[in-house]
Symmetry: C2
Subunit: 122 residues, 2 copies
DNA sequence: AAAACAATTAAATAATCATTTAACTATTTG
DNA sequence: CAAATAGTTAAATGATTATTTAATTGTTTT
């Protein structure tokens, strides 16, 4: 089945190490989730929505961006299933979705922040 | 200090929830790490290098891409500190760096794969 | 030293994507 | 019903980026 043939054989027993290589599609699916956090503004908005529920203009003020720009990011996060929304009168409130994926991403952001930004947590 | 003022006050005690909001720079730093995994091909190459050490042409064959394209991704992963390389004769061998960040990312990929690609693990 | 092989770099192309401005929809209030 | 407020959508722009092709560098072998 998954016979991995490479141009060079360096005798490292490739087959032992790489018994099950996930498909290209699986890596693309995972990459699409990572891509959501690959933009600083979007990661920031997502993180905020893990900590509070907010409407668009408040979010815009918090991240210092125009509301169309924020709306654009919210649309992507929602399409990715990372946030949910509810309308209350004129306002639409957004918050993080309650899923294992979201918890994993949230935890990951905070963990990565500790590792990559050590000065921040003295 | 971090007095968060928003256009609307919906009385949700924002200050309680958001005592310490990381800086824009910190989110950008974290996003830059995520960005590395935001490309399917690069995530795949990184994952492979978490499981074995390989030279460029073998990697190219494994991911079915041209060697310049692979080299391009390797350069980025290396600049991000996620992989290391060593030359042995004509070949340059790459492997994942031995750091907490790398372990976290690797674990995250596999965890996310289980969550987002359930059919793959029956 | 020349030929062959491995890898990187450079230039060019195509595609993706974040942001802005402007127009539009939806809801509430006077 | 008109005005005001909140949010979204569309078109346009600018920036970033993945990939290809071609040229170049580094190493080994004959």
């Amino acid at each position: 089945m998954s016979e991995l043939t490479t141009p060079h054989d360096h005798g490292q027993a490739l087959e032992r190490e790489l018994e099950h290589v996930p498909s290209v599609e699986n890596f693309q699916t995972v990459a699409d989730v990572f891509k959501q956090m690959g933009d600083g503004s979007r990661a920031r908005i997502f993180w905020l929505l893990c900590h509070c529920e907010e409407c668009v203009i408040n979010l815009s003020a918090m991240v210092n961006m125009s509301s169309p720009a924020v709306s654009h990011h919210l649309k992507q996060l929602k399409a990715a299933g990372l946030i949910v929304s509810r309308r209350e009168g004129k306002e639409v409130y957004y918050r993080a979705a309650d899923t294992p994926q979201v918890q994993l991403l949230h935890h990951m952001i905070e963990h990565l922040m500790e590792l990559a930004c050590p000065n921040e947590f003295v």
